[in-house]
């Protein structure tokens, strides 16, 4: 096990280098010259050159790449070019609001999708199953933007059940008051694809021999579904949930923008609009590292869930 973990950790290095090179090339190729954004309405070549010098974008590419690598090694990505705010402070202050929305969204969404998928898998082929599958297909075809606009208008404005937007200073207020509608929107959006996916996982298991054996032994349907089928379908479900975890770092920018949530997703969009490379670099690297760590954790978790899994 330890050897496996060490081997995987070593593999992080070339993967991360690939990500670094990709983001560096992309930014310098299509990112636009930030000096022209920062220069304001009237600028002259001397002014532009002064800004480029201060940002360090006048340095040769290999020097800039070296600085990037040093930033990753030290974890210090400097300050935003647009606002001068420390990148570390941006993460420290924006991750909280993002997680306040995204964690409940992920937990509630996953639980509801599992319950619904288990039920429709049990009644597979029935009218209920078909109706839910059609609803899921339709639901999945609709853009998240439509969900946000419609639900914000109907539930927030017309019915007044939730605030249409806003964010406070208190965690309890944010979690139970301001985050309620954004979480609901996120859950509704995620339900359709997740139910379809999890249903297929459950159906794969329901058709296995061990299920027939369990039934032949006289086990109740409830026990067969909730103990045997659920446990064996857990591996792909865990994989799906784990894949979604690194995205928490990048936030859910549309939900954050519409509901005025001061999360990291909004900051990422602002950074792209402003060609704010320090923040783009930091987010990309952190998401890459989180993805690698979570993938490793998922593999270790498979072993815990299913002892038949061999780590090589």
């Amino acid at each position: 096990m330890l050897a496996y973990v060490i081997r995987r950790l070593w593999q992080f290095i070339p993967t991360l280098l690939g990500v670094v090179l990709l983001v560096f090339v992309l930014f310098n190729w299509v990112g636009g010259d930030p000096a022209y954004l920062l220069a304001g309405k009237i600028s002259n070549p001397e002014h532009i050159e002064n800004i480029r010098r201060q940002l360090g974008v006048d340095e040769p590419y290999y020097v800039q790449l070296g600085i990037f690598l040093k930033q990753i090694a030290t974890g210090d990505f400097g300050a935003s070019w647009a606002t001068n705010e420390k990148i570390s402070h941006i993460f420290a202050s924006r991750l909280g609001p993002s997680l306040t929305v995204l964690v409940p969204m992920l937990v509630i969404g996953t639980l509801l999708a599992m319950i619904a998928a288990l039920a429709v898998a049990f009644w597979r082929g029935s009218v209920t199953d078909r109706a839910i599958m059609i609803a899921c297909t339709v639901g999945q075809s609709i853009s998240i933007l439509v969900y946000i606009i419609v639900l914000q208008y109907v539930l927030g404005y017309q019915l007044g059940w939730f605030p249409v937007q806003g964010w406070g200073q208190d965690l309890r207020e944010n979690l139970f008051y301001y985050a309620a509608l954004p979480v609901l929107v996120g859950v509704i959006v995620s339900l359709a694809p997740d139910i379809r996916l999890y249903r297929s996982f459950f159906l794969d298991e329901i058709n296995q021999d061990y299920v027939r054996t369990a039934r032949a032994k006289g086990m109740s349907d409830t026990r067969v579904m909730t103990v045997h089928v659920l446990r064996n379908a857990a591996i792909p479900i865990v994989t799906n949930v784990m894949i979604q975890l690194p995205a928490l770092l990048a936030g859910a920018f549309l939900i954050e923008r519409f509901f005025s949530i001061p999360g990291i997703g909004r900051e990422v969009i602002l950074a792209v609009e402003r060609s704010d490379f320090p923040l783009i670099k930091a987010v990309t690297v952190y998401v890459a590292i989180a993805t690698m760590i979570i993938n490793l954790a998922a593999d270790l978790l498979y072993k815990a869930v299913d002892p038949r899994v061999q780590l090589k």
Binding site: Y36, L37, A39, N44, N50, T83, I149
Partner: protein
């Protein structure tokens, strides 16, 4: 405890936690709630360029001069100065005397001692614009103007350190309350720069103490101070207890609404609003719903949804009038125009729209005649703009409301003009150059929904006269870069007044500004000669005559296609009183009130 009982207890606990939050009390009295549609970047006056940061800076810092709240066109009045500057030496020396006893807001950097505003603070604040370390986007306001300041900046570029203590002839403080500015050349309109929102005074000790984080620690002498700051999300200002306290005292102008505003506000001690809460809401739907739910008190960033609350003739729909909602409608001091690049070559390629020969002028004029500005106003702006005829927009000194463009919308005449000058149509229906080479116009824009609409209108307009259009899409910084290098053939651009003087607009076509603000890269000796003469004149008939001549020259050369100026529709809740949009001031928070009933 049984499972059922446990569930009931948990459920009750959840409701107990959530219920109080749904029964929120209304915001406290005299709290104004507004929105920004884009995030601020910080509150250090020399380091920002965006409108929203400027709005907060305007509330916190004091420029020497400001503008009369009601007078139109905008009229300069003293702010912390005792009077308007004494202008001597043929417009080269400005002497301003500060009022005594004005204090900065209390801040830990002052260690409990009241800090008085002195002339040296302005001298220091102006110097900061030229400090290369600050890379100020508004350095151009002072660059090349104040004697000795550019030399100081040049020295700083060599040494890496700006010498704030070095004496210079252009910025002197003969005594504690007198600031003397010596300009390199005559400029009778420099007072507008002294009234500019970002030209407020900072305290040197605060700037030095907060170092790299001055953007989050603004310390000024203005009516408000920063109380709470969650970047890109929420900004809360509270009335500055150290504020000198001014009195609402403005004379009504010709606008019939002025009498009512004066009657309601005259003599009140400012500020009347104790707290300003600013929420950053990027999405129009969020701002629109928040206003309708009464979560905000005034809102103007609603261009996309204007037809939902406005009638075709620019009024409010009855359902909003019945709710007591008020509308303040003005034209922004801005100009939207499409320029032609006047340089003969773009990179190593010949530029088909450049040059002063008759056939080149005919080509540009034909394109201008084919462009349907009325459709721009009707479709793209949804009627929320007026057609621009003059390069100086309404509300800005030098604007001529009677001026009419000599270039009409007439695609048929445009086609005839092209035929006359040898731009013949080929079998594909598109024209070629008089020498038979292909004619392709390249129009640049950003990959946004709004710019796509402009692309389509331009394409339709040029198709109507048989000219082939190629759309070039690029991101804003790249377009800026290419524009500064005179490498864009055509682009629609916007300019909003930095200060309400025609010079701020006419400089957009001044030859030496090529590569900076003259994005058409237009160089006309006739235009430049008149512009240079106009710079030596104050606002008045003689300068206006020059502006008119310059506009006609530009039209004869067909350098710009005049576009529009957008309406600003400000929606106000019934309890907001005294509001009148100022053409230059970013916000009106200092001059308005909220009725006690709120």
């Amino acid at each position: 405890m049984s499972k059922t009982l446990r569930r009931i207890v948990l459920g009750a606990a959840f409701i107990a936690l959530a219920l109080p939050l749904t029964c929120r009390a209304a915001a406290s009295a005299k709290t104004l709630r507004v929105t920004f549609q884009a995030a601020e970047t910080g509150f250090d006056p020399v380091k920002v360029a965006d409108y929203y940061s400027g709005s907060v800076i305007e509330a916190i810092f004091d420029p020497l001069l400001t503008y009369d709240y009601l007078a139109r066109p905008a009229k300069l009045v003293p702010n912390v100065a005792e009077a308007l500057p004494v202008i001597s030496d043929e417009g080269r020396t400005y002497t301003v005397r500060l009022r005594k006893g004005i204090r900065f807001a209390d801040d830990p950097v002052f260690k409990g001692v009241a800090r008085e505003l002195i002339a040296q603070d302005y001298a220091y604040s102006i110097r900061r614009f030229l400090d290369p370390a600050n890379r100020s986007p508004y350095a151009f306001l002072f660059e090349g103007k104040i004697a000795g300041l550019d030399e100081l900046a040049s020295a700083a570029k060599k040494t890496g350190k700006f010498d704030y203590d070095a004496p210079i002839a252009g910025l002197e403080t003969p005594d504690r309350y007198t600031l003397r500015i010596r300009l390199k050349q005559t400029d009778l309109n420099f007072s507008h720069v002294l009234a500019f929102t970002l030209a407020g005074a900072v305290a040197r000790e605060a700037i030095e103490a907060y170092g790299e984080d001055t953007g989050a620690h603004p310390v000024g002498t203005g009516a408000y101070r920063l109380k709470q700051y969650t970047r890109s999300s929420k900004i809360v200002l509270e009335a500055n207890p150290a504020y000198r306290g001014t009195v609402w005292n403005f004379a009504p102008g010709a606008d019939p609404r002025d009498q009512a505003i004066v009657g309601r506000m005259q003599g009140k001690r400012l500020p009347l609003i104790d707290r300003v809460e600013i929420s950053i809401m990027e999405e129009t739907q969020s701002r629109w719903l928040a206003f309708q739910k009464g979560q905000t008190d005034l809102e103007y960033q609603l261009w996309e949804v204007a037809p939902r609350f406005m009638t075709a003739d620019g009024g409010l729909k009855p359902e909003f009038l019945n709710r007591g909602i008020k509308l303040d409608r003005t034209v922004d001091p801005e100009i939207i125009y499409t320029y032609f690049n006047m340089q003969e070559r773009i990179g190593d390629q010949p530029n088909p729209v450049a040059g002063f020969s008759k056939e080149k002028i005919a080509l540009r004029r034909a394109i201008a005649m084919a462009y349907n500005v009325n459709d721009q106003v009707r479709v793209i702006r949804k009627g929320q703009a007026i057609r621009a005829h003059y390069p100086i927009p309404p509300g800005v000194a030098g604007h001529d409301p009677r001026y009419r463009s000599s270039i009409p919308y007439d695609p048929q005449a445009a086609s005839a003009l092209l035929e006359k000058f040898g731009y013949r149509k080929g079998p594909d229906g598109y024209r070629s150059l008089p020498d038979g080479k292909p004619l392709v116009i390249r129009y640049s824009s950003q990959p946004t929904e709004r710019d796509r609409q402009f692309d389509e209108l331009m394409k339709r307009s040029l198709d109507s006269i048989g000219i082939r259009l190629e759309i070039h899409k690029d991101r804003f910084p790249e377009l800026m870069k290419l524009e500064n290098q005179c490498r864009l053939m055509m682009r629609t651009s916007a300019w909003i007044a930095d200060y309400p003087d025609g010079d701020n607009f006419m400089q957009l076509m001044y030859g030496p500004n090529k590569g900076q603000s003259n994005n058409a890269c237009y160089e006309s000796a006739e235009f430049d000669r008149r512009y240079e003469k106009s710079r030596l004149l104050a606002d008045g008939p003689e300068r206006n005559r020059l502006y008119k001549e310059m506009t006609r020259i530009m039209e004869v050369d067909s350098v710009w296609i005049m576009g529009d100026s957008r309406y600003r529709n400000v929606l106000l809740q019934p309890y907001v009183v005294g509001y009148k949009k100022h053409p230059v001031l970013h916000t009106e928070w200092l001059y308005i009130d909220l009725e006690p009933a709120k």
